[in-house]
Symmetry: C2
Subunit: 732 residues, 2 copies
């Protein structure tokens, strides 16, 4: 009590002094300034701890049951029903947010025809059908039947009914097709059977079409998803493994966002491209099938044996084709017939936004989102994330409605539509609110598939993870055990992956330059080599699957809720934003070293110096270190609210300085000079790496080498600009 | 005194209450918060008035004398000497700024050869020279001679020695050459004589080359600059008019910025284009000449009479050519020989920056700049602006060094290099500090040619002029007398022109979306029809010219200093930024009305609706009006420093929301959807206007009509984004 009095006295005296100066020197203010307590509001660790305790595993489980009860494909009535569920939760008078709204875009989706199901068959030359692949997955738990389970298909693959001899093309990469051609295999007019992995879905058809292939099949090899297991008793519902009839659905569109409205929100009145002129759709009919059916096709192929790396776990020697072997199940001249009847449709898809107004800085937004749409029931993808989102918003909403808490900054919860078709809801949102988000967004947190398995994985640009230090939970220890790196400053620390374009964070980080993070509990990669959780994008990704195999007891879901909740609270409530800029320096340094080691000699041969880049990285490191020190000093002193705001603006806007909309004109939406897609294996700055790999085999002085120099300059300017943003604001 | 006590009491009590809440609910702050007086700092009208009084006409005159003593072409030793002068002034211990630095870029300039002067001559078929144009201006005042006076030339015009029959091509627009062609005049291989005006300098050569013209001459017709007067006793040094030998120099480069480093700062290590591949240079040799010489060429032409609108004041009937009339000064088959020996050179050019650190918000920059380089002495252009700049920085620096004043926000004074070659210094600066400026720049004020004549002209996007209300000076009344418009809200108000790309504001407004203003005293257009002040870019633009003819007594210079100083102080010191967003709404409304009236029917015929645009404009108007009201309310209440900052951020960033780097990919640097270059006469949104004029004669459903729709969507998204930025920050 005494301490309060002393403080009160100091403030009162200072205010008097202040007023005297104002009256003597400045214009007379219109009223007295009453510093409200909230202006000093910092993270309250007791509230944080109490939120952590309230995040309830059983409620997450109930959320998941409700969210995944029915298939909820984007724009379906069930998807719309979930929009209402979210609105109802976020408008709940006891546990809701300040406000919640749904907003709808009119977007181009792709669906299989109900009347004419897609079909894959083997036919003899006289037209007799000798074998047909399944048109839907086996109804193993009673949840795989019914009209709402969309049959397996390749979204955005064009309709068509090619037929031809079958070839096996491994993962359908450019190299795979080159290899087939090098073996003398005539690809023109064939049907290529490929397996998932190695490259994007759509890329398989793009690569195939370049070689004259007429149609593409895609399956998941048990070697890639099931550690080789494929029998019924070793797979779901007897284990978490993919059953033989399971088929991964997915978008085969090359870009993201609504295909008809690049860079524009898909509002009803927006300009739309003619669908016939849209680039990025697969050029030839494509259809995914289960490994049960793939086995029949693949194990009957004739021709040379496929290379060892192309072999899988279907229990036969994989041959390349073309066509079937004479002594197999089909006559040697049998062809494979791929009938695709997919249709493009303009559909309404909604995002739902729920807002908690910030008490002190309502114009700083911490965004937390996940998509809502699934391919079928989508218990893991995306409902495990939404179940966590709803529990977190319930706990925060309850505090809010009770009046015991309000964040310093605004929190925006988002449930995105049509992510499965290419991050459409989130991309349209970023297109619509481009300016406001660039001005005000502090960070975007994505929790899509919240639990794959049992170790925590976070993907994020560096410098953006306030280490979760949740007493007794050992999330941190668990994380560092599975994913770690050695920091020159801190020693062994948890490591963060890089953000690609796998979920709704992509438009935030790549298009808008907003610090982003993707949080998930994943599985122990020393125990399984599965590419992803086995029932991904199949009709077997159900509540029972999660409840029985993925996270019985939902403790991992709870851990994700706590981790994500902790990150969210620290971002929304900390006086100083918990963004560590020196960590970013470590990444730049590692990119630089990779460039020096792997590209240095090559660049020197072309008289291209890395010295300006070295200098720029050093400037960044220097500015970042000095900024850290200024923050430490201010934290010890009495920070003026504007001083805090100015520093936070530097932290918030750092990520924006890495954007250059003119850096990669051929890469739609990708403007971030550090995180744009990188080809090749050198873990360095993507523009430099890509330009080098394109220039590699061209002559001295070629345009490709000029582009290397241009990319280097773009990078140097961005890093110098980033360093300038971090330097004391009064030193222009 | 009593009032102070009451206020002190309130503050003290509130602080106690506040601290109680903090201790009970929030984390314990690290120390007591002492509100410093500066946090409420608002514009002090007494200080403003005192600054106005201290701005001294005779000191401006002395500055001008010093600045224009010698020719100071970009990158010349005299230009470098002025860099030192600026540094010395801005580092003066009694009247300097907080800091001053020069920064240097390596830029591509173009100069005539000293060894081989450019030459324009008439020769007979045997090669005899019958007549040569002057290679330099007549030395009328002793200042037009000597090695530092660069001879007249067309910067960036390529070297070459074409010769051919002369034609007269009026202003060298596309239409002018079409008209010549329609008259059956064979243009292939001719030399086209054109006069300044009607289109950009470089465009004359671009248009000419399309028709096979081999070389271009450009002169200034006395009708366009001298109200028809051309005799020696009616021109300088006997009046302010252009003497017969005067020649306008200028950059003939189509874009702005260093030609070799578009979008990148021209640092020594930056990637540079191959000069041979640079676009935007004139395609054929070009040379400017005086009207004295032009008369000899033009009045000897044969052929049909030029149309009435093409006639000028050289005292003869202008004919079209080709070639000379038989009874004139030259044999009919004489040809004109244009010898251009210009050279491209990489040169160092410096900007000088002088900083006054802001006391409260050092991370908000109010920029005030002008270029330093001139074609010859450049007394009007640019030294009249720099003379004002130096006087203003002296007065402010003196207050600063005395400790009696420091602005709320930082002030950045800039002296740009190489503006005459295409706004190079300012453009490279915006390229280098792109991120920092976009984040933090409040506004850019440009004062280049500060005094043309006797009425004030300001060019700026709307909403950005705090009305100068300088007691007794009547700048406002003078302004409103010459340039006014009727506002629905305020009645008759001074009108602002639009910002083109005529000076260093261009990269700030068009490339970075920073609110910009160009201030100048101009002349009474009812008394002269001169395109610009008559000695523009000639060797006659000297101190004596200004002192005797343009502004004897320097009262107009003083008025500009006061106006610009008032704008600067209001931007740097006002608690709320003096940017009126509702004024912007008036411009949008006028653009919309022009579109509806002039393009509405056409668009309807192509099923393109303006309704979304109408809605967007309405949303903007609504949001702007509501924001104005919130500011008024806050001004009456006790604004919390963060509330003020948040509102100011909305005001500052509004201009940024109109930028779209993908809107006009063919227009280098132009990203502002409201102020990009507009062709055609409809005063509406440029993207829409340009797309319509391109689509006009194409068929229904053409790609050009699709582009109209795309431009409309880009515009709607920008306006909706602008409205979103203005709405209350907590309403996402």
């Amino acid at each position: 009590m005494k301490w309060v009095n002393v403080l009160g006295g100091i403030v009162g005296a200072a205010a008097l002094l202040g007023l005297g100066i104002i009256l003597g020197h400045f214009a007379i203010p219109k009223g007295s300034y009453v510093p409200t307590p909230s202006i000093f509001q910092d993270l309250d660790l007791e509230i944080l701890e109490s939120i952590m305790q309230q995040l309830d595993a059983s409620r997450i489980r109930e959320n998941l049951r409700e969210l995944s009860r029915e298939p909820h494909l984007a724009s379906s009535p069930q998807d719309e029903a979930l929009v209402q569920l979210l609105l109802q939760r976020w408008r709940d008078p006891e546990s809701g947010l300040d406000s919640a709204e749904a907003s709808t875009y009119e977007v181009l989706l792709s669906f299989p025809s109900r009347e004419q199901p897609n079909r894959v068959a083997v036919g003899d030359p006289t037209g007799n059908v000798l074998f047909s692949c399944r048109q839907s997955e086996q109804n193993l738990t009673g949840e795989q039947g019914g009209p709402d389970v969309v049959p397996p298909y390749a979204a955005y693959a064009p309709p068509g009914t090619p037929q031809g001899l079958l070839v096996y093309a491994n993962q359908g990469t450019e190299e795979d097709f080159m290899k087939l051609q090098a073996q003398g295999i005539k690809l023109e007019g064939t049907i290529a059977l490929t397996r998932y992995g190695g490259t994007g879905r759509g890329a398989k058809a793009v690569n195939a079409a370049k070689h004259g292939v007429a149609g593409v099949l895609v399956y998941t090899d048990p070697a890639d998803i099931n550690d080789g297991q494929s029998s019924t008793n070793e797979t779901f519902p007897n284990s978490w493994r993919l059953p033989p009839s399971g088929v991964e659905r997915g978008s085969y569109y090359e870009y993201f966002g609504d295909p008809l409205t690049p860079y524009l929100p898909a509002n009803p009145s927006s300009f739309r491209l003619d669908p016939d002129t849209v680039s990025g759709f697969p050029p030839i009919p494509t259809q995914p099938i289960g490994f049960e059916d793939a086995k029949i096709l693949l194990c009957n192929l004739q021709g040379a044996s496929a290379p060892a790396a192309w072999q899988g776990a279907l229990g036969c020697d994989y041959k390349l084709g073309p066509g079937f072997q004479p002594n197999g199940d089909f006559p040697a001249d049998s062809q494979v017939n791929v009938s695709v009847y997919n249709r493009l449709e303009l559909r309404n898809s909604s995002n739902v936004l729920g807002i908690i107004r910030g008490a002190v800085e309502p114009d700083r937004y911490v965004l937390y989102g996940n998509h809502r749409d699934s391919w079928v029931h989508g218990a893991v993808d995306p409902s495990s994330g939404t179940a966590v989102l709803l529990e977190l918003s319930r706990v925060l909403g309850t505090l809010l409605k009770k009046g015991t808490w309000r964040p310093r900054r605004s929190i925006v919860f988002a449930s995105w539509g049509a992510e499965e078709f290419g991050l459409i809801g989130s991309t349209e949102f970023t297109e619509e609110f481009f300016s406001k988000l660039q001005e005000r967004a502090v960070a975007y947190i994505n929790v899509d598939i919240s639990v794959f398995g049992v170790s925590l994985r976070l993907n994020s640009p560096p410098g953006q993870i306030p280490a979760p230090s949740l007493g007794g939970l050992s999330i941190y220890d668990n994380w560092i055990r599975y994913f770690n790196r050695s920091s020159p400053v801190y020693g062994l620390v948890p490591s963060l992956g890089s953000l690609g374009a796998g979920s709704d964070y992509a438009p935030f980080i790549h298009f808008l330059g907003i610090s982003s993070m993707d949080i998930a509990y994943t599985y122990d990669r020393s125990k399984t080599s599965a590419r992803i959780y086995p029932t991904y994008h199949t009709a077997f990704d159900t509540f029972g699957y999660v409840d029985k195999f993925v996270d019985p007891g939902f403790s991992s879901h709870q851990a994700v809720a706590r981790t994500a909740g902790s990150v969210l609270l620290r971002l929304s409530d900390s006086l100083f934003l918990p963004l560590n800029v020196s960590d970013y320096g470590e990444t730049l340094r590692s990119f630089l070293q990779a460039a020096q080691q792997n590209l240095g000699v090559l660049l020197e041969q072309h008289s291209i110096s890395l010295v300006p880049l070295v200098t720029a990285v050093e400037k960044f490191e220097g500015a970042a270190g000095a900024l850290d020190q200024r923050i430490s000093a201010l934290q010890k002193a009495t920070p003026d609210p504007l001083q805090v705001r100015m520093l936070n603006d530097q932290l918030m806007l750092l990520e924006r300085t890495f954007l250059n909309p003119r850096a990669f004109p051929e890469e739609r939406y990708y403007s971030h000079v550090l995180w744009a897609p990188r080809t090749g294996s050198v873990a360095t700055f993507p523009g430099l790496a890509n330009a080098c790999s394109r220039a590699m085999n061209t002559s001295l002085g070629s345009p490709a080498w000029a582009e290397v120099q241009r990319q280097l300059s773009i990078l140097v300017v961005a890093l110098e600009g980033a360093a300038a943003t971090l330097r004391p604001v009064a030193d222009f």
